[in-house]
Amino acid sequence: MVDCSFARNRNRTGKEMKRRMRNSSLVWAALGSFICVESFYMPLGSWRDPGPGFLCLGSGISLTILSLICYVQSWTVDQEPVPLPLPRPRSRNLVYAVAALVIYTACLEILGFRVATFLLLLFLFRCIEPQKWGVAVGGSALTTGISYALFEMWLKTPLPKGLMGF
């Protein structure tokens, strides 16, 4: 899949690219090592009759070795910078969006689909890319209604009712 990042305007120096590559490869190497360790607790079987841990161990070893090669490459191979200039990234939006999703998931079965969804949409419309109150409230209500009608009434998907029963 091509990441259409040219449209997103990103400026990275070669040094920063190398640093990212080093950090990410260490994370994957750590994960690969964890997978290898966990695989040893599983029955590996034999070459004639591989056990459940066989492919797990293979993928762990593969991930670890490839990550370490990637780590070495980050020191030895020049990384090409992506040339386009870039406005400052709005990391706050990411935190808000992920936090909103986590809280929504936690509250969905407590508040019920309709209330939780309305509040989620209101928050996303107002706090991340602020819209006018009329648009936010109207859009949230309309979307909640349409999605309820689509999933609960047409597709018969049982959506949570919540403690209040709706």
Binding site: P52, L55, N93
Partner: protein, 499 residues
């Protein structure tokens, strides 16, 4: 005679009212998401995946297939008018399409994109009718070693053809294999990395993982940056290309259709690769290569025909051999398997209505897309003006509902959010999601084939070299895996000799 009876069966299934309705719905949604940047066919198919459980498997696959090839049509609209590809496979169309719009020729560009896609889609459907049955018969000769070798080849080919680093793509494929092992081992019943969770005993669900990696992460990436859309303000008229446009484009369309179909049918290939390859070929063989990038109509016709042919060509390995050619085919495979239908060489015999119905619907879908894309251009242009600030909450909501509605399980929503964050960091560090997803979907099949092969050979890996078909796949895999290294070594030796 067999071909004619197959064509008759395909249209008799595709023309049933239910299937026609879902075909139309699929291509309409596909065009819509193709027009709107920020949501791709993979995420949309995974969001709508749960809906297919309420309808027949034939209608479900027809709808999801319509979304896939419909998105290729819609993606060209934003590429031409806004210079932002609605779809990754429409990136190349920006190069000449937007320039044509700036020259006041947005209409012919949009028209040619639609006609090229239609012609390519129709040709691809015909190729499938001719090729799929003999390919299915050939793959009946496959045993576990051949399947293992072919699936490994597919994964390696995908990593070889990845736009970024092959090493990183291989890492993601390894990770995908690991993620596919989580759950109860189907052979021994042993629990692998379930940590006592009942949800994880069933394994990581395909839908939450895909929605996270493709859907949620894409929204997070877009939220981080504001995407400015410069909608080129021009009155769009004269959607029909003139005679000279057709003269220039017909050979490009035919070449693009062939290249696209072949690359789409290759495991690991796909619409994106096909569109880039087709553009590169046209530029290479053109007598006026300097016109490319400045509004050459071939630069629109070729990639648009290639990406549509590729999207349909991808169905060949899935339907005939049971091997998904790319991540989207992997999702469709998941749809069929959840309905209890195993794609592969026996699909034609056991479920001919599914096999031929999907193929017939592709041809009908192409007609629907031609009707949707030309007269309704004005509506699509209006839709382009919807701010992303309004769209992204809807995308997030549908992702959550889609994940929840599968099993009414909030843990799966949590899994989706986790993979959304993981997918975000993957994109930031240039790790592609497609190898991960393809490996994740293929993992149960690969593991089964590997274990059966080793049991057959009493533990000897030489079984993969002793059987000719398997040997061919292994040799090709080895070539693809080591050729970048050999090229690098060759370059250094050459540089050393010159100094």
């Amino acid at each position: 005679m067999e071909v004619l009876s197959n064509i008759y069966l395909s249209f008799s299934v595709a023309m049933q009212m239910e299937n026609l309705f879902y075909c139309f719905l699929g291509v309409l949604i596909g065009t819509l998401i193709g027009v709107l940047p920020g949501l791709g066919p993979a995420a949309t198919i995974s969001i709508l995946f749960p809906l297919t459980l309420k309808i027949s498997p034939t209608a479900g696959v027809i709808m999801l297939a319509g979304i896939y090839y419909g998105a290729q049509y819609g993606g060209s609209t934003t590429s031409i008018l806004v210079n932002i590809p609605g779809e990754a496979a429409s990136v190349v169309t920006c190069l000449d399409g937007y320039q044509m719009a700036r020259q006041g020729r947005a209409g012919p560009a949009l028209g040619m994109a639609a006609f090229a896609s239609f012609i390519a889609g129709s040709l691809a459907t015909l190729f499938i009718v001719l090729i799929a049955p003999p390919l299915a018969r050939f793959s009946l000769k496959f045993g576990p070693p051949e399947y293992f070798a072919l699936m490994s080849l597919g994964l390696i080919l995908l990593t070889y053809l990845s736009s970024g680093s092959m090493l990183k793509a291989l890492m993601m494929a390894s990770l995908g294999i690991f993620l596919g092992t989580i759950g109860v081992d189907p052979i021994s019943g042993y629990e692998r990395l379930t940590f006592g969770s009942y949800t994880l005993m069933d394994g990581l669900g395909l839908v939450p993982v895909i929605m996270g990696i493709f859907g949620i992460s894409e929204v997070l990436i877009n939220l981080e940056q504001s995407i400015k859309r410069d909608l080129y303000k021009t009155h769009i008229s004269q959607l029909f290309p003139n005679l000279r446009d057709w003269k220039d484009s017909i050979p490009a369309i035919l070449r693009g259709s062939t290249v696209g179909f072949l690359l789409g049918a290759l495991p690991g290939g796909g619409a994106i690769l096909a569109s880039f390859a087709s553009y590169a070929i046209e530029k290479k063989i053109s007598r006026e290569p300097e016109r490319f990038g400045k509004g050459a109509i071939k630069g629109v016709a070729a990639p648009e025909s290639a990406n549509n042919a590729a999207s349909q060509g991808g169905f060949i390995p899935l339907l005939s051999m049971g091997i998904p050619a790319n991540a989207i085919m992997a999702i469709l495979m998941g749809v069929l398997m959840i309905h209890g239908i195993r794609p592969g060489p026996l699909l034609m015999k056991q479920h001919p209505e599914v096999f031929w119905g999907v193929i017939g619907s592709m041809y009908i879908g192409n007609w629907m897309l031609l009707v949707l894309n030309l007269p309704l251009i004005g509506i699509w242009v209006k839709i382009l003006k919807i701010p992303y600030a309004i769209l992204f909450p809807l995308i997030l909501l549908f992702c959550v509902i889609g994940s929840y509605s599968l099993n009414n399980n909030l843990v799966e929503v949590g899994i989706m959010i986790v993979f959304g964050v993981v997918g975000y960091f993957m994109k930031k560090h240039d790790y592609e999601g497609a190898p991960l997803i393809l490996a994740f979907v293929l993992c149960p099949l690969i593991e089964n084939a590997l274990r059966q092969s080793l049991m057959m050979s009493h533990g000897k890996f030489t079984i993969f070299l002793e059987r000719p078909i398997s040997l061919g796949f292994v040799a090709l895999s080895a070539f693809l895996l080591f050729s970048p290294l050999l090229r690098e070594v060759g370059k250094r030796v050459g540089a050393g000799l010159r100094t």
